[in-house]
């Protein structure tokens, strides 16, 4: 299934053209048409009421506007679940138009799945999780891909790149990014604007590498024939001092502009660690940038380590971990865990 969205309304027709050329047909399902009449995905589950109540009680720091936006996003998640159940499994070439933010929907899908897990083993929670988990698995396996359009404008391309970084950080596969529309000489656009648009496109290609990034040419939207790949890459090495260096590459992250230096700190990319399991000091590396949060689960070795600092270089984050002695059985070499 191909999720299609555009950062601005101007890109909608272009990206849908690209989607049609990519999958070979022009049928489009509108996610919005599933968002309201089919709330049974959640409304039938008491656990959603629990979640909504919990959010409204414990989330007193949120404004009502935030809460409503959150509930709208939950509805989009419900619609995605519904569309996947109806079209995704038997029609791999289904094209689904999403008017909102796909990274936001995917983030909420992930969060709701975890909340349903936390909610316990009650029947409603199990029902909800049974419907959410297959969709999340499809997102992570590439059965659900994302095709995204952004205009050839520097701020828009920057935002689009960060959206892509967030999506790949959640494990989503991105079919490609379309830069459209491009100003044409034929339409009377001056040379200066046309050149600036091409420079913006070139910048997007660099920032988003290795994700396929194409632009419209001669008024035609291109196809994206190349299959998606796992764009986010993580690895861990052990340095000479025995520290473990975890690196995570998120294509698109390099588009972020760094704020004023404050003792060398980067103000707009926050890196931290988090533990979902009280038995370990670390289970996830957390990266927060723009309005996105990426949680990347670390391997069994790093679970028994504590992070001490982080370095950001372009689209790569490096986090230094040191072993927590209490986590390593005496008499066993710490290197064994890294083998």
């Amino acid at each position: 299934m191909l999720l299609v969205s555009s950062l601005t309304p101007s890109g909608r027709s272009w990206v849908l053209d690209s989607a049609a050329r990519t999958v070979g047909h022009e049928r489009v399902v509108d996610l919005g048409s599933f968002a309201y009449p089919n709330d049974d995905v959640f409304d039938a589950c008491a656990v959603f009421d629990d979640i909504a109540s919990s959010v409204s009680i414990t989330g007193a720091q949120f404004t009502s506007a935030d809460l409503m936006a959150g509930l709208r996003s939950f509805r989009d998640v419900a619609a995605l679940v519904r569309v996947w159940e109806m079209h995704g499994t038997d029609e791999p070439r289904a094209v689904v138009w999403c008017a909102g933010s796909v990274p936001q929907v995917l983030a909420d899908l992930e969060s709701l799945d975890e909340l349903a897990d936390v909610a316990g083993t009650s029947s409603p929670a199990a029902t909800l999780r049974a419907r959410l988990t297959p969709v999340l698995a499809a997102v992570r396996s590439g059965d659900i891909e994302w095709l995204f359009a952004t205009p050839a404008q520097p701020d828009a391309v920057q935002q689009a790149s960060l959206d892509v970084a967030a999506a790949v950080g959640m494990g989503a596969t991105v079919r490609g990014v379309l830069v459209a529309p491009m100003p044409r000489k034929k339409d009377g656009w001056p040379k200066e604007i046309r050149e600036q648009a091409r420079e913006t496109y070139d910048r997007a290609v660099m920032d988003l590498h290795p994700i396929t990034t194409l632009r419209t040419r001669s008024g035609e939207a291109p196809a994206f024939p190349a299959a998606s790949m796992d764009a986010a890459q993580a690895s861990t090495i052990v340095d000479a001092g025995g520290d473990r260096i975890f690196t995570l590459t998120l294509p698109g992250l390099s588009a972020i502009e760094y704020g004023p230096a404050n003792g060398g700190d980067i103000q707009q990319v926050h890196v931290g660690t988090w533990s979902a399991d009280p038995a370990y000091p670390t289970t996830h590396v957390v990266v927060r940038f723009a309005e996105h949060t990426v949680r990347w689960e670390v391997d069994a070795t790093l679970r028994r380590c504590r992070a001490i600092d982080a370095v950001v270089a372009d689209d790569t984050i490096a986090v230094t971990f040191v072993p927590v002695q209490e986590q390593w059985p005496s008499g066993r070499d710490q290197e064994e865990g890294g083998a």
Partner: protein
């Protein structure tokens, strides 16, 4: 004046008799601005007294001495706290998870 304060305010009596109407518009023959404000202040005062009485009756003022909310089912505040916990932790009361620990970040 004291006798008037001992009576319930007109908006609690539920009656629409002339006396009640007269009280509502201030002193008879003196419907000016000062009288109107006086009614507003007395109204606010009455609401304040009611709120105070309700607060005291609820036992909320004694809540500061309460430890585990589940041990004080008669305390309104404890009752609300238990209700909130039962909603936010609907099942097996998962262990409290720590917050993210943010790191110093350098730019390469």
């Amino acid at each position: 004046m004291n006798e008037e304060m001992e009576r319930p305010p007109w908006w609690l009596s539920g009656s629409n008799d002339d006396n009640a109407s007269g009280n509502a518009t201030g002193s008879a023959g003196d419907p000016g601005i000062g009288g109107g404000l006086g009614d507003v202040w007395s109204l606010l005062g009455a609401v304040g007294n009611m709120a105070g009485d309700w607060f005291a009756a609820s036992g909320a003022s004694e809540h500061a001495d309460h430890g585990d909310p589940r041990d004080h089912p008669d305390c309104l505040v404890c009752k609300v706290l238990v209700g909130v916990q039962s909603v936010s932790q609907p099942a097996s009361e998962p262990e409290q998870l720590p917050r993210a620990r943010w790191l110093p970040v350098r730019r390469a």
